[in-house]
Every structure is written in C-alpha cells, then in structure tokens.
C-alpha cells in the first residue's frame, strides 16, 4: 500500500499494475465460469430461478422507461422534423433511434444499475457471511452453483429486455406522434417499415444487447466474487459494478457502432 509521501508517479504505477492484475483475475474468472457451466445446463431450474431475479424483476423499469423514452423521442423528433416539413418521417426517427442505439444502450444501463448491482451485492454478501466457503466445504463448487447460472440468466435476459424497451419505445412514439400530435398514421408506419431493415438494424441491435449483457453480467459477478468480505467492501463493489458496467457499455457501443453502421 503506498503511504503518504510516496512520489505520485509510483502510486499511479502501483495502481495501474493492480488494475492489470485484477483484469487478469477477471479474465480467469470468466474462463472458470464458462468452463463450469455444465451444471447450469444440466439443471436448467437454476438458470430459470436466476432469470426471475434478473429478468422478470427488471421488466417493469424497462417497460416504463422504454415508454417514456419513446414518448420523448416522439415529441422532440416532431419539433425538429417540422422545421423541414418532414413530420411523416417521425416513425423512421423513433424506430431507428431506438432499435439501433437507445434500446440496447439505455436498457443496458438500467439493467446494470438494477440487476447488476443486485448480483454484486448478493454474491458479495454470500462471500462475507461465509456461505461460499460453506458450499466449498460441502464439495459443491460455488462457481458452478452460484455464479454460472446467474451469468447465463443475465446473458439471456439482456437482449429480451432491450427488445421490450425498443418495442415499448416505438409504441410510446406512436402514442405521442400519431394519437396526440396528429402525424399521419399510415406514413408513420409505412416509412418506418421501409427504413428499418431487419438484418442491418434490428439484428445489429440484438447483437449489441447480447454483448452488453455479457459485459455487465461478467463485471457484476466478478466484483461481487472479489469483494472484500466487509460492509464497506460490498458497498464499494456495488458502486464499482454500476460505474464500470456503464462505462463499458458506452465504450462497447462506440466500438460496435463503428463496425456495424460505418456506412458499409
């Protein structure tokens, strides 16, 4: 531990090395999780149980947020498009924004703060109260029994939640644009359908949300597993999960977008 009076450069170096070590540990951790996933698939009941806690309990926040985001897109989009006389393109604007970007990204950020932090806290507490050690002493591998099911549940939940977010958002845009403001319903849907391509936009959006799911679940589980077994340790780990996951999602979004939507 660097003590006061140590040159700043050395402490930065020490921190950097620490982080690299931690990254290596994290990589080994995910390798172990994948290797020990056999139990999860042999006993799908474990994954189903975790699907409830990560997916089902996140549904409400995802659906409501999606609705609001879609409604705001409808409002803002209308304001801007009117100046160019292109209100009929509102459907295109809402659909493409959601399916390509906002759906995967915003639902990932919400997922990280709701389900991700919950996973970190749960595993951190299990570690602090020696439940993981108890499991080890009973010859049950905690990674196979506790970590892997949660990983697969998170990976499965994320694309489904992102799709729900986008669908609700489009509905919200429809409510605001067509029902409330009065954009022509026919052109709303028809222009949307011709502009949104299943392979280009929707599938890419699903791929994005899948990648985000892997990243968020990995970070959440690792932080929980590695947390110091104290109250401050667990709380610090939970915070780190949300922050790191959010940054990772945004960075990955940029990388994926530049691959997928670079304009061929």
């Amino acid at each position: 531990m660097p003590h006061r009076g140590m040159p700043t450069v050395r402490s930065i170096g020490a921190k950097a090395i620490d982080n690299v070590l931690r990254l290596g540990y994290a990589a080994r951790f995910i390798g172990l999780t994948l290797a020990h996933s056999g139990t999860s698939f042999a006993r799908p009941g474990l994954i189903v149980r975790e699907l409830y806690y990560t997916g089902v309990l996140s549904m409400i926040i995802i659906l409501v947020s999606g609705l609001f985001v879609g409604m705001v897109l409808g409002l803002q989009g209308y304001q801007t498009l009117t100046t160019y006389g292109s209100e009929s393109a509102l459907g295109v604007l809402v659909a493409l924004s959601l399916v390509r970007e906002l759906g995967p990204v915003v639902s990932a950020l919400l997922f990280a703060s709701r389900a991700g932090s919950a996973m970190t806290a749960e595993i951190g507490l299990m570690k602090a109260t020696e439940q993981l050690s108890a499991m080890e002493m009973m010859a049950v591998d905690p990674i196979a029994r506790v970590v892997a099911p949660r990983f697969w549940a998170g990976v499965i939940s994320m694309p489904l939640l992102a799709a729900m977010f986008s669908a609700m958002g489009i509905f919200g845009g429809y409510i605001v644009g067509v029902v409330l403001i009065g954009v022509d319903e026919g052109s709303f849907w028809s222009q949307m359908q011709s502009a949104v391509d299943v392979r280009e936009d929707i599938v890419n959006g699903v791929i994005k949300s899948f990648v985000f799911g892997v990243a968020i679940t990995w970070i959440s589980l690792f932080e929980g597993y590695d947390a110091p077994p104290t109250a401050e340790g667990v709380s610090g780990a939970t915070t780190r999960t949300v922050v790191t996951s959010s940054l990772a999602v945004l960075a990955l979004d940029f990388i994926l977008t530049s691959f997928m939507f670079s304009g061929a």
């Binding site: 089902v56 729900m164 949104v196 392979r199 936009d201």
Partner: protein, 157 residues
Amino acid sequence: MGRSMLDLWVGIFVVAGIAALVILAFKVGNMSNFGGGDTYEINANFDNIGGLKPRAAIKSAGVVVGRVKSITFNNERFTAKVTMAIESGYKFPKDTTASILTAGLLGEQYIGLEGGGDDKMLKTGDSIRLTQSAVVLEKLISQFLFDKAAEGGTQKP
C-alpha cells in the same frame, strides 16, 4: 415465491421478450433483405459510379429487385465494374439499361434497370452493355456553363 409461480413469471418474461423481438422484426422492420431467395449475378461497367455503395438497392420500375454485391475498378479500361445480385425470380433481357439514379433530391444512390425488347435474357455472369453513369454535380455545372458560353458565342456576331 412458490416454485410454480416463479416458473410462470419467467415464462411470461421470456414470451414477452420474444414477442417484442418478433414485433420488431415483422411490424417495424422490412424483411425484404432477410436472407431469403436465390440470386444470380450480372455485371455492368460504369464510367462513374458516383456515390454508389455495396448493398445499395437495384430497382426496376421502382421495385427493389436485387442488391449491389461488389464494386471493383477495372484498371485497363478505367471503368467501374459493378457486380449485382438479382433475385432469381426476375429475368431481364440482354439489352437492359442500367443507370445510377438518386433517391429523392439528396438521397442514396441506387441502380435503376430498364428492360429493353430483346428475346434473350441475361444469365449469370453476363454483362449489361448499356449503362448510364451517375450524374456528377460538378460536371453538370461545367457542362451548363460551357453550353451557356457556346450559346453566347454563336449569338455574337
């Protein structure tokens, strides 16, 4: 939370998620590009392709009949060779014209095919001989100025 209640809710969740995906795929997006259908390839050479990109649409009478597969530069003739993938259901005669058009005023560029009157149809690997290159704005302007100057010249005594 009883075991069966839990399973029920997870089932609802998965069904809702898949339903959302299906709605997005079918109602929101268009499936025209989705894998389906065999295609055959034909080529066309253009002097200037303008802003044409691979995967651009190929339309005839306004309907999408295929996609641009690849664009390469022919170094011997200094033209652009565009390879097109046309859906197998659509046959075009040998004297079809291929033009590069723009969708809307400032939109994306696509290839428009106009059928001729020939009896024989294009097969895989054939080339379209009648092509019209993209309209390049600068050339249009300089052409316009040249015409204007020439017109002014003939008028002067």
